[in-house]
Subunit: 359 residues, 2 copies
């Protein structure tokens, strides 16, 4: 491990408070600042550190440059009993997405399901935050987003699609929820960063073509390093990951009126609105089957999967969401890991805003 990328641990509440204050100082209303900070901190707690407080500085910079609206009048319009559209009014992705998902949950109480496409949004952090919002309501939550282009379509040689994440959260009885939160690329950008920082061998099928990925001064692999879709090259099934990535872009981008494909390079430009698109949905379990029967069978499926004899070196077969629940337990006690380049940015904002930085 390169020492300049060894994380330093910070008290979760202190970092959360600092994050809220940064948002407030640059014009974000208090309730919105709390939501945005919660999404970022939750990402760190679950172990998605590339989507946690590491995202605060990019938000800060875009707000300072007038590229994100700090107090958007988000507009939600239902076109049918169960479907509609949300104009994010160029607000923070975390805030727009929170309100869109909340609207889906309310609407699904009546209709059984509800879906919203969202345009004029910004980077929303982790998809799994919004899908998880469905869990207390005995609903299945769905969240997708398109993202800036760095994934090669099968047969092509340039980054046209984003890592376009899909998340699906399904409640479990007294257990961490089933929480699928995956990029449709072979590997998420965050996991790629971690592997390069550790100097680990990069598996075939992660980056396109077989270049050696490197880190920029922020300790992340730059967008110029292209990625394969899930499945890697064509022969190992990459056309399926490509199909999923394209599906996410159609649902989130095309069906919302947001940017899509290469146009999403806008989200990295310093002179134009990102216009990222999302797709959210909620589905009531009781709209299909009695929840008690559902939960009994779900735990029986979980036991079935976990009963498979283990591969050498494996300690447990995890259900999606379980590794993140373990991270949350660990980081909740130990504090949140922050990389030195991210820490530098946090301190820079503290100075610029004359905010005390948590020791």
């Amino acid at each position: 491990m390169n020492e300049s990328f060894m994380p330093i641990f910070f008290d979760t509440n202190a970092i959360r408070h600092f994050t809220e204050k940064v948002f407030e100082r640059i014009g974000v209303p208090e309730d919105h600042a709390k939501i945005a900070a919660d999404v970022l901190i939750e990402a760190d707690l679950r172990g998605f550190d590339s989507h946690g407080v590491a995202r605060l500085f990019p938000c800060y910079k875009r707000i300072k440059n007038g590229l994100i609206e700090t107090n958007p009048q988000i507009k939600i319009e239902w076109l049918t009993p169960a479907t509609g559209h949300c104009d994010g009014k160029n607000g923070l992705g975390m805030v727009v997405s929170y309100y869109a998902m909340r609207a889906c949950l309310a609407r699904a109480q009546e209709s059984g399901t509800a879906f919203l496409t969202v345009n004029r949004s910004n980077h929303f952090g982790i998809a799994g935050y919004y899908s998880s919002m469905a869990l207390p309501f005995s609903m299945i939550g769905i969240a997708m987003s398109n993202a800036s282009p760095r994934v090669v379509p099968t047969g092509g040689t340039t980054g046209i699609l984003g890592t376009n994440p899909i998340s699906l959260a399904i409640p479990r009885r007294g257990e961490p929820a089933f929480l699928l939160d995956m990029s449709t690329s072979a590997v998420s950008s965050g996991k790629l960063d971690v592997a390069v920082r550790k100097g680990a061998e990069i598996p075939q099928g992660w980056v396109y073509p077989s270049v050696k990925p490197f880190l920029d001064s922020e300790g992340v692999v730059p967008m110029s390093v292209l990625q394969y879709p899930l499945g890697g090259p064509q022969k190992t099934g990459g056309y399926k990951g490509y199909g999923l990535a394209l599906m996410v872009d159609i649902l989130s981008g095309v069906m919302s009126g947001a940017n899509f494909g290469s146009k999403l390079a806008a989200s990295k430009k310093t002179d134009t609105e990102a216009n990222i698109g999302h797709f959210f949905g909620a589905i009531k379990i009781g709209g299909f089957r009695k929840p008690e029967a559902f939960h009994g069978d779900l735990e029986s499926l979980v036991q079935d999967v976990k009963s498979s004899p283990l591969e050498p070196g494996i300690e447990e077969i995890f259900i999606p969401g379980e590794p993140e629940a373990l991270n949350k337990q660990k980081y909740g006690q130990r504090g949140i890991p922050v990389l030195p380049p991210v820490l530098t940015k946090l301190q820079m904002m503290a100075v610029e805003l004359t905010l005390p930085f948590p020791a």
Copy 2:
């Protein structure tokens, strides 16, 4: 290519007529026989020959053994305006699924979306048949199914999950539709069969562990050859394919009251109902955005993807559904390819039922 597995081409209409007659002779009502035959023939036309008339004999055998109900009184119950449940009453998977999807389409006209879980069904052929039913209605169609266990959960060593397919069909303007129709395993069983028949090298990450897959007397790779989920082993992203396969089993099996996980071995047993589960949905495009605007942007995204400079040896970047549309054109003219072991079974049924077999 092993010569005993070289296909023989048959006139599509003749095979279709024969397939309908076989179903009718063993007690399937005429309208149901037409539906079931259409699903199988469509699979062959699209190039999914493992799911085409090759599936007629297994259906025939199960019906003859009293394991499938030939005239099921399928029961659909809507529990909310947009969600409900279908009891397939152990009918043919193709027939049950056709009626379930038709009910979703009618319901989505009013609600914007509609979803049904289905239990007590049987092998439904290709998922893409049902998702495609949404296309003429300017809707997005969704179809999933669980299947008999042969996919290893990440970290495990036995087949617990099926190849659990996901299909999503999205209309395109004057073009073949966007039609994702993929197993959540690294490779579909059908593609694996074809590769083994050709004697092609099997890519790492297709079968688990690295055994050499072989063919049984029917020219297919037996269920005892286990498969990796999409993404292959853990390090190349297999945990994502495993997560998707588990998601399909929860939505199709657990949420419908069907069998799930290892219990689906029932679908291959000769003394018990299969109780396979499906999940169907329809989403109205106009419920989110004006269809004209949607279609304009969709074609612009397609052009964007196709504009990526090609990898050496690649002639075109395909949108999901395009390769199958080309197959349909080709086989529509040339006829449907039938493998010798499948042909033997068709001839056997012709003799048993005293039906003329198409020359």
